[in-house]
């Protein structure tokens, strides 16, 4: 990107910040970091007295990236880190897509679905966090950030956060650990039962479902309704040995294989870091020009339609590489060949420029 293009982009960003509504909870207790064309975080240890001061900074000094600490500090600007006086931090999850420069529709949908499940199945259902304490944010690029601002979780250290992150990611999940046999009665096998929650409950419900829909996947003999009924009856109270199939635990591998589908690939490194900087919600992402938009609901959210910041006024660009066709602002952007010049909507043009896939053309 040449200097003129950089100025062009920064002017767009600055204009956006004049109208944007940026509100960071407890803004005065957060550390801020900003980045530019060279690095996502070029300067750290910044602080703002109020959201208005932050917004002023964004309009005047317009960085390409702006992040705030998940942590609350007594002295956010102090250095080194130990002098800041850590007072706890939000619990944050980062969901990302590991893919090429441009995301396919399927990749977008998968990560959106994962974010929704993270909130519904894990944060609300398993961890009992209230919806009001959860802030869902499109990351501005490929994925989603979920901020949990529940005071009960605020003081957790890195190790405790790792337990939570591992739980959600299903790290180290071995279904055999759900089963045990008493010393004095080796034939008896105890396992998950009706009413169990967490992964035990998920496993139980999946096993029942497979028994009802496709018992042969577990064992040939279970295709006989009496045999399946016998096992199911025992399972209800947690007794899994009520069957003539001796290696029933091994046989459940077929069910266990489906368990990881219910886990969510959250980035552990982000969650366990109690001093992490994370993109400020509703600011722009410097690699896309998209808004890291805070979302009330993930349903029907489409980043390239709902997070575009600069409108559809046409702008002429030249593709520096082949760009696949994609949906943007409710219409289909035709694919571009390398060297091809075309008028495109401003938001899309800025997006390609920032991705390094196009240059301004006259």
């Amino acid at each position: 990107m040449d200097e003129g293009e950089k100025r062009f982009i920064l002017r767009l960003f600055s204009d956006y910040y004049r109208k944007a509504e940026i509100e960071v909870p407890s803004v005065e207790q957060r550390e801020f970091g900003a980045g530019g064309f060279e690095k996502k975080i070029e300067s750290r240890h910044m602080g703002f007295e109020s959201n208005a001061a932050l917004q002023n900074y964004l309009i005047r000094d317009t960085p390409l990236y702006i992040s705030h600490s998940i942590a609350y500090y007594r002295f956010p600007r102090a250095t080194p880190m130990e002098n800041k006086g850590w007072m706890g931090g939000d619990l944050v999850f980062d969901l990302d897509v590991h893919a090429g420069l441009f995301l396919t529709k399927e990749e977008q949908e998968k990560v959106r679905g994962d974010a929704a499940r993270l909130v519904e199945d894990f944060l609300l259902s398993d961890f009992g966090i209230r919806r009001e304490s959860i802030r869902m944010v499109f990351s501005g690029n490929r994925g989603y950030h979920v901020h949990v601002m529940d005071p009960a979780f605020r003081m957790l250290g890195g190790e405790a956060r790792r337990e939570i992150s591992d739980y959600i990611a299903g790290k180290g999940l071995d279904y055999r650990s759900f089963f045990s046999s008493p010393e004095e009665d080796k034939w008896k096998i105890y396992g998950p039962k009706e009413g169990d929650r967490g992964y035990r409950g998920r496993f139980y419900r999946m096993a029942v479902k497979v028994l009802e829909e496709n018992p042969g996947a577990i064992h040939r003999r279970l295709q006989k309704p009496e045999e399946a009924a016998l096992l199911k009856e025992g399972m209800r109270t947690g007794l899994w040995s009520k069957t003539s199939i001796r290696d029933i635990v091994e046989r459940m591998e077929a069910v266990a294989k489906m368990l990881p589908v219910q886990c969510i690939d959250v980035d552990t490194g982000v969650t366990i870091d109690t001093k992490r900087l994370i993109r400020v919600p509703n600011t722009l992402h410097g690699s896309t020009g998209l808004i890291a938009r805070e979302l009330r609901s993930l349903d029907n959210f489409e980043p390239y339609r709902d997070a575009a910041a600069f409108g559809a006024e046409p702008i002429r660009i030249e593709a520096l590489q082949a760009v696949p066709a994609q949906e943007f602002l409710n219409s289909t952007m035709e694919k571009l060949e390398k060297g091809e010049k075309r008028d495109v909507p401003l938001s899309y043009g800025a997006y390609l420029l920032l991705k390094g896939a196009a240059t301004l053309s006259s």
Binding site: S125, D126, F127, G128, A152, L156, E159, D166, G172, G198
Partner: protein, 311 residues
């Protein structure tokens, strides 16, 4: 006569208030008890020897406070770690036979407050993960978790409280210019500590996978590790042909190190030919830190070599 709540749990705010409101002054009797308290922790005597008569409450509390001051002054992580383990075990021994009333009081103090829901004892998730010991049995992933609660039983609650006491003991406020008597007895204390106990370990770094490096790092910081972590580390070191004596000396960095027990366990591992836990197993123990996808931590060196050769 019963031990008072404060005598059993000298780390509580109630105990601190008692000390503050008394006109207790540090004297030789208290200091000697304090030194004994730390030394017996070092020997792994689990607190029995420094139990005094119940009527000596202030001496008990004073010696605890003085021991903490010496540890703050000495800033020796090994000593602090050993003391933390011993004090936590001492407290949990009391907890196991204590009254409901005292237990409720202690739960409140430590921030571990189980409640009964639908006939089941449960603990808020955040409290649970804050204090769950590093052992596979306590991993959140294998527990019943719902509506913000983790199912537990009474014995597990006590185990978590023990962990909470240990963590509290590991945290020391720095003290500037302690009273002369603290400085003097700190010197005496150090003279009683066997030299090898505070010796820093040495081990070549960089040759080990991230999970093992992390364990070594924690060990170097004299942190306690769970059973699976120790086993994995021992098997790894033995598999790498580190001599038994060297492994033994590396393990002596653990705050709860017991020479005889460790030797027995290392022998046992060698005789039985324990094999290295696979990466998948390390993961399920919560010990995997890097996702290197090499199958077993033992393959690290070959893998990094191959990698650097190809790039």
């Amino acid at each position: 006569m019963e031990f008072s709540f404060s005598s059993k749990y000298p780390f509580t705010s109630e105990a601190r208030q008692k000390v503050d409101s008394s006109s207790l002054e540090l004297n030789d009797e208290i200091m000697e008890r304090a030194v004994q308290r730390v030394v017996s922790a070092l020997k792994g005597e689990k607190g029995q020897p420094y139990r005094l008569h119940p009527s000596d409450e202030l001496l008990e509390l004073g010696s605890y406070a003085a021991a903490r001051m010496m540890l703050s002054y000495l800033k020796n992580r090994f000593l602090t770690g050993r003391f933390a383990v011993a004090e936590a075990k001492r407290a949990s021994a009391f907890m196991r036979s204590d009254s409901e009333e005292n237990l409720r009081k202690l739960e409140k103090e430590l921030g571990i407050e189980p409640v009964e829901i639908g006939g089941k004892l449960v603990l808020p998730v955040a409290q649970y993960v804050s204090f769950s010991p590093r052992s596979v049995d306590y991993r959140l992933i294998f527990r019943n978790v719902s509506d913000g609660h983790v199912e537990v039983n009474r014995a597990e609650v006590i185990r978590l409280m023990e962990e909470a006491v240990k963590m509290r003991m590991e945290e020391l406020k720095p003290i500037q210019n302690p009273p002369k008597i603290i400085q003097e007895y700190s010197r005496r204390l150090m003279a009683l500590v066997p030299r090898e106990a505070v010796m820093r370990m040495s081990f070549k770094e960089g040759d080990n996978p991230p999970c093992v490096e992390r364990l070594l790092e924690q060990l170097k910081g004299h942190q306690n590790l769970g059973h699976q972590a120790r086993l994995a580390l021992a098997v790894y070191l033995l598999a790498k042909n580190v001599p038994m004596e060297k492994v033994q000396s590396i393990f002596s960095n653990f705050p709860d190190y017991d020479e005889k027990k460790t030797r027995y366990q290392l022998e046992h591992i060698r005789k039985r030919g324990y094999s290295m836990p696979s990466c998948a197993t390390m993961l399920s123990y919560g010990l995997c830190v890097a996702d290197c996808r090499i199958g077993t931590p033992l393959r690290w060196k070959a893998w990094t070599k191959a990698k650097s050769g190809s790039s």
